[in-house]
Each structure stands twice: as structure tokens, then as C-alpha cells.
Amino acid sequence: MTAQSETIALPAAAKKQRSLWGDVWVQFRKHKLAMFGLFVIAFIMISVLIGPLVYTRDPEYIDFTVANQAPSLQFPFGTDNLGRDGLARNLFGGRISIAVGIVAMLISMFVGSFIGALSGYYSKLDGPLMRFTDMMLALPLLPLLLVIILLFRDTLRATFGPETGIFLLIVFVIGILNWMPTARVVRGSVLSIKEKEFVEAAISIGTNQNTVLLKHVFPNVLSPIIVAATLSIANAIITESALSFLGLGFPSDVPTWGRLLYDGKDFMTFTPWVVIFPGLFISFTVLGINFMGDGLRDALDPKLRD
């Protein structure tokens, strides 16, 4: 409620710019937690992008003489049981985890909201699309992954090289297997929104159906999509670790946050730093994105805007 009153008290800045996203940004800046989220995400992004250039230790270099070291000046994040440097591994792993999280989220949000919106709005498409969604939900994930990898790995490896090929494969797999709940949620909301008076009004003045869906209905279902997006980033990061574990992910010499967490879990009592840092990174990323999502949601709400 405080956020609301503050935003109403400070309408002046919005006067000059009248574009939608301009308004949203003005609104967003007022949202302290959202700005905090943005700051956290920016900090993490910059560290993982610039970090490895500044902190040049090799994340894969094994040195048993320094195995299981606690965090110190020499090894700020400690070392694991093979003596690999924790900070270097976290920074390097972050690049992949964040990239996988965001790209997979975009894919699943795009497919999910597209199918959900079409299905909810056009009742003719509803049946076939939702049955298709049911089918996708019912497919056994692991065997499906094995099949996809069997069919596409060598082709992708040949075309894009081992790492990019696997990256595309993983991002695609995670994205394409996670859109179904979003589609169901979006469809449910669209079903309800399309019966509202303002939609009726828009249709009655002769607005094109597609325009109604895009301009009037869709903005009103953004908030479940934003929540779903936030959660799906975390989900993608964790799923990636499960894939690596099953031998379906990146080669074992490529660290990712999810994998660091998974590999380190048995060391939890012995060398806790190998799990605390990737755990904190994932939590802060998700928290930051969540706060940004909250802010975006509030900023997009025309009722809160001047």
C-alpha cells in the first residue's frame, strides 16, 4: 500500500514521456524493492560477465595440494575436494546458469502464453490446443530427453561445436518442456477476462479480434505470466543440474551453479562452502528477478499509474 500512495504522490516525472514503456520505467524506478532486485541482478550479471576476465584462475585446474580449503584471501570461495577454485567455478558457472535460465524462460513463456492466449480466446482452438497441452504434460520426461539427445546431439555438435550445440539443446529442451503450466494458467485467466465488459466494449466498436486479444486481453494476464517467468528461471537453473547429473547436460568439465550445488551436496557437512556459494547465487538471482517482476507488475498496472 505504501508503494501505491508514493506513486500517486509523485506523478510529475511522468508528464513529459507518454510512451507505455517510458511510463513503466518511471513507475518502476519508484519501486524500491524492484530497484534493489535490479541492482542485485545487475551485480550478478556484471560479476559473471566481467569476473572471469579479472579473476583469471582456471575453474577446472585440479591441484590436490590445496583440496578442501576454507575460504581465505587466496581462495575467496574456498576450494573443492579436487582443489579447484570455488570463486572461479562460481563465476564461470554463473554465465551458463544465467544464460540457460533466461533463454529457457523466454522460450517457455513465449510458447506458453501464445498457446494459452489463443486457446483461451478462440474457443475453436481451445479443444485441440489443450489436448495437445495435455499430451505434452503426460510425456515421460527422461525417456523423451534421451530420445531428443539421441536424435539431435551429433547434428548439433557438428553444426555448432560441442559447447554451443549442447547449450542450444539444453535450453530448447528445458524451454519446450516447461511451457505447459503457463499455457494452462494463461488460458484460465483469458477465459475469464474475455467475458469482461471492457472486452465486450472493444469488440462492439468493431475492433479486430487479434487486436482485442493483443491490446486488451493480453496485458491483463501479464501478472500470472510474470510470476511464472520468475519461477521458471529458478526451475531452469535447477533442471539443468538434474540434466547434468543424468549425463544429458553439459560435459562434466563445464561448471554450472546447479551442478556445483548437486556435486557438493554430500560435502555439506564437510566443506560447506562448496554448496553455500552456488546456493546463495541461485537464491539471490531468483529473489532479484522476483522483486523486479513485482515491480514490473505494479508498474504495468494502469490503475496504479497516473
Binding site: 495435455d134 510425456l139 523423451l144 534421451l146 530420445v147 496504479l304
Partner: protein
């Protein structure tokens, strides 16, 4: 509504047949092999004989039709016989659907594992619904209050820290150090009196909490956002303007309108109860349906994987239908033609 229901139920049949075919085809294409986990000391020729004995030598369509027959005719008949005690036809001669790993009937395996899965996963689901929805509503009504912040942070931790981690942490704290709860689940335990009931509670409390933390996180976020969407709506102002108490406004008007996305998620989640919780079940050695599925996948026990995923598919189709019916109840303006 009645006609809609009948039509939906009828279209479910071709949908399920299509799903069954796709599942069968995927599992057939998948490269894993039932003899893959046998010791390497068994010679390859013997492995080939084992494969033959499992019926893997037959062509695809024969195996598919056989499976369909077993799943839709043989096994239901067997269940019917077992429950009613009446022998129907040649019950001995029927070729039952068998697991490759255990050579026992798949249905028996599923029934054996259902109780512990329902206890743990089902209870966790209930707990999370009971916590998440009220908490989501409070979080939304008192947005940015301390309750909301704590709930947000807990949700984010619950969501971003995977269950393999929280489960292990719970075991280390509560089983290893405090020694309060057992670290694994005894499936042979029978609840007969107060004491054994207390033991049952003790052995499910850790897995239920770990699972509930994860599920509460998701549900709570969706409820909160949905209620937030509805609070500034005109109809809420109207009700408030009529002078109703805030509690009444929220509970009757806002909540009902906010539940649509939540219902979707809850409905989608119920089939997953029967899918079990693969990781949590493994960590606490619950050996429910989730553990059965993962063992079957790892050992390429195709009859079990097929049957479990197909049962799962039936439940998904069914509960999505239920969700659609509830939509109509929550928002009477939604009508299906």
C-alpha cells in the same frame, strides 16, 4: 454443462489413444536397454537371450497392440476378479503386464507403492494448499508488510533451493544431530494404535515438510499475484463502498475471482501426487511411485514406465477437465460452447 462434459469425456478417448501411442513410440526410440544394468560378467549372448525372453524381438506394432490389450482388458479384468472374487473366463491363461526388472505384475507394484506416496506426497500437497492460499491472500492484502516480505523470502528459498538440498539438510539436522526423526521411511510399518500412529507421523514429518516448502512456494506466489490483480478492480471498490467489512469483501468477492489461476495449478498438481516426488522419495527412501518410476527408467523397465506414464496421462486429462468445470463455477460468465 452436461453436454459439454459428455463431449469432453468422449474426446478424451482419442486423446488418450494418441498419447498412449506417442508414449510407446518414445520409449521404443529411447536408447536404453533392459540388460544395461546387468553385471558385465554376463556374456553378451546371454544378454541377447534375456532380451528375447522379454519379448523385445517382436515388431513394434505387435508389442503396441499387446500392451494396449494388457492395459485395457487383461489388467482391469484381473482387478475386477481380485476385488469381487468372481472368476471371469480363463483367468490363469491371461498374459499379464509384467515388469521386466521384478517379473511381477505391474499393477501389483503400483498398488504396493500407492499408500506411502499418498501419505507423503498427498499430505504435503494438502499442507501446502492450506498454508499457501491464506498466506498468499494475506501477503496480497498487506502487500509489502513484514508478513509479505517473510513469505516472499521463504517462497524464494523454497523455490530456488532444490529438494535434494533441503532434504539432505533436514536429515543432517533432525536425524543425524538431533536424532528426532528417522532418516528413512519404513514401508512395512502398520498403523494400529496410538504409538504406531505417532511413529508414522514421525517418519513422514521430514519428507512432508521438505515437499510442502517447495510446493507452498509456487502456490503462494500465484495466489498473491492473483489477489493483487483483483484488489484494485472496480467491483471491489463497489463492494467496499456498500460498507461491507473488509474481511467479507476479501473472502467472498476477491478470493473467488482470484482463484482461477490457482485452481489451474492445484488441478495440474493433483496428478503429480500420483507421479510421486522422485527426488524426495529417493532421499528419504520412501520407495513410492516416484522412486518406482525412476528405477524403472534407469533400468529400462519399459512396461512399468509405459503404464505409470499412461496412468499419469489419464489423471492429467481428467483433472484438467475438473479444472475447466471449476472455472465455470468460480466465474459463471465463462461458458463453453
Amino acid at each position: 454443462m452436461g453436454r459439454y462434459l459428455i463431449r469432453r469425456l468422449l474426446t478424451a478417448i482419442p486423446t488418450l489413444i494418441a498419447i498412449s501411442f506417442v508414449i510407446f513410440a518414445i520409449l521404443d526410440l529411447a536408447p536404453s536397454d533392459p540388460t544395461g544394468n546387468l553385471p558385465l560378467t554376463i556374456p553378451p549372448e546371454v544378454k541377447e537371450q534375456i532380451r528375447e525372453s522379454l519379448g523385445l524381438g517382436q515388431p513394434f506394432h505387435v508389442r503396441y497392440l499387446k500392451w494396449m490389450q494388457q492395459f485395457f482388458i487383461t489388467e482391469p479384468l484381473n482387478i475386477l476378479e481380485e476385488t469381487t472374487g468372481i472368476a471371469i473366463g480363463d483367468s490363469e491363461g491371461r498374459f499379464r503386464l509384467r515388469s521386466w526388472q521384478t517379473r511381477g505384475p505391474v499393477i501389483d507394484l503400483v498398488l504396493e507403492r500407492l499408500p506411502q506416496t499418498l501419505w507423503v506426497v498427498g499430505l504435503a500437497y494438502l499442507v501446502s494448499i492450506v498454508i499457501a492460499i491464506p498466506l498468499g491472500v494475506i501477503s496480497a492484502v498487506k502487500q509489502y508488510s513484514w508478513i509479505d516480505q517473510v513469505a516472499t523470502i521463504f517462497s524464494m528459498i523454497g523455490f530456488s533451493v532444490p529438494t535434494f538440498f533441503t532434504g539432505l539438510l533436514a536429515i543432517i539436522i533432525f536425524s543425524v544431530h538431533l536424532g528426532w526423526f528417522p532418516s528413512f521411511y519404513d514401508t512395512t510399518h502398520q498403523v494400529t494404535d496410538w504409538e504406531s500412529f505417532v511413529f508414522q507421523i514421525k517418519q513422514i514429518i521430514l519428507p512432508v515438510s521438505v515437499l510442502a516448502l517447495f510446493q507452498t512456494a509456487t502456490l503462494n506466489r500465484f495466489t498473491r499475484s492473483s489477489v493483487l490483480d483483483n484488489l484494485p478492480q472496480d467491483y471491489v471498490r463497489t463492494v467496499r463502498a456498500k460498507g461491507f467489512r473488509e474481511y467479507y469483501v476479501i473472502m467472498t468477492h476477491v478470493l473467488r475471482n482470484s482463484l482461477i489461476p490457482v485452481v489451474t495449478l492445484v488441478a495440474l498438481g493433483i496428478p503429480t501426487i500420483f507421479g510421486g516426488a522422485i527426488i524426495t522419495e529417493q532421499i528419504f527412501r520412501i520407495n513410492g511411485l516416484g522412486a518406482l518410476l525412476i528405477i524403472a527408467i534407469q533400468g529400462s523397465d519399459i512396461p512399468v514406465v509405459q503404464s505409470l506414464t499412461f496412468i499419469f496421462a489419464i489423471l492429467i486429462v481428467l483433472f484438467n477437465l475438473v479444472a475447466d468445470v471449476i472455472y465455470g463455477f468460480l466465474d459463471p460468465r465463462i461458458h463453453y460452447s
